[in-house]
């Protein structure tokens, strides 16, 4: 029998899920459920939208309104839902490839509009589902099946990208620091605007194996040691920061939200929202 939280928020007839042993996505999906539970949201007023990839399987397991869409387009679908039903809490679960490569354009324009969506990127630094090709967040020098001698591209720092594009809430969590990550997702949902949470996952099967990171436990210990708070990071030198990943809240500056602005246009021309 599953726990009360899992029973309430997941479609237990679909469990166990498809993710590999030690995959961080299961931890992150629970974090999203816990955040929704902590905020006491009405499940019928929550919609989860996902794209394509390992991360995007989450929509199939989560027991809310869910939409599993096309590759990279989750934010576009989510924008449509939010425009039609602004009172709905819309959460996008996506991956690093889905959000930052094929969906990069939707991501930056979602940020630019500051539409009230919460994006949680299950970032495993690779394309897991298709066999471990390098992604826009694979660190420089690391390997993928399409970069057998090491990746020469620079990796995106996704929260910085989102902030620069106009997101009003940006943060990074991971699989080790669970209470923090839950809190970041909660704050992201609470922000009335575009919230972006880069949730660092663990892919022992492809990214880990290809880069000799050891097993899942070694990768979890890596997060324990190397994922550090901003306060701690501020005290370290550039060299010391090289193998570190800064976690926590980076930016939280609310500004006018897109569906509210759209309502002012509707009011101006005397129209009615079609509910």
């Amino acid at each position: 029998m599953p726990s009360k939280l899992i029973e309430k928020h997941l479609r237990t007839d679909r469990l166990p899920h498809i993710w590999c042993p030690g995959c961080g996505h299961g931890i992150l999906m629970r974090d999203v459920c816990q955040a929704i539970d902590n905020l006491n949201l009405d499940k019928d007023m929550v919609t989860i939208v996902s794209g394509i990839g390992c991360s995007s399987r989450a929509a199939g397991y989560m027991n809310y309104n869910t939409l599993h869409t096309t590759h990279g387009r989750a934010i576009a679908f989510a924008t449509g839902i939010k425009m039609a039903k602004p009172e709905m809490t819309v959460i996008v679960i996506t991956g690093d490839g889905d959000a930052a490569a094929i969906g990069g354009n939707h991501l930056i324009h979602g940020c630019r509009r500051n539409i009230d969506l919460t994006i949680v990127v299950f970032n495993n630094n690779t394309y897991g589902m298709t066999g471990g090709q390098y992604s826009p967040t694979t660190p420089t020098g690391e390997k993928g099946t399409t970069a057998p001698y090491g990746n020469i591209d620079g990796a995106f720092d996704l929260p910085r990208l989102a902030k620069a594009a106009g997101a009003t809430y940006t943060a990074r969590g991971d699989c080790y620091h669970v209470p923090l990550t839950i809190k970041l997702i909660e704050n992201g949902i609470k922000n009335h605007g575009f919230s972006f949470i880069d949730a660092t996952s663990i892919c022992p099967t492809y990214y880990g194996r290809k880069n000799k990171k050891g097993g899942p436990i070694d990768m979890m210990h890596w997060q324990e040691k190397n994922c550090i708070s901003k306060t701690k990071a501020d005290k370290l030198s550039k060299e010391e920061l090289e193998d570190k990943l800064v976690i926590g809240e980076f930016y939280n500056e609310p500004k006018e939200e897109y569906t509210d602005l759209y309502q002012t246009i509707i009011d101006k021309v005397g129209g009615k929202r079609n509910v």
Partner: protein, 66 residues
């Protein structure tokens, strides 16, 4: 009556990754035939770290009346 917590396992969900065992501060758990197993429940402090990091929802604390 005050409520207490009980450590529960759902073996059908366990994939044997070992996170719960590695990060248990009280050495309560072990792996038997690639599934999590309670070795020493008396050590358990009901901290819930196993539940937080279980990617498969196979181990958790449940409130019980008692």
């Amino acid at each position: 009556m005050a409520s207490a917590k009980e450590l529960c396992i759902e073996p059908a969900y366990c994939k044997g990754c070992g996170y719960c065992i590695e990060f248990c501060p009280a050495d309560v758990l072990e792996l038997v035939n690639d599934k999590v197993h309670i070795k020493n429940i008396d050590n358990c402090t009901k901290c819930g770290l196993c539940e937080m990091r279980c990617p498969d929802y196979a181990i958790y604390l449940e409130e019980v009346e008692g």
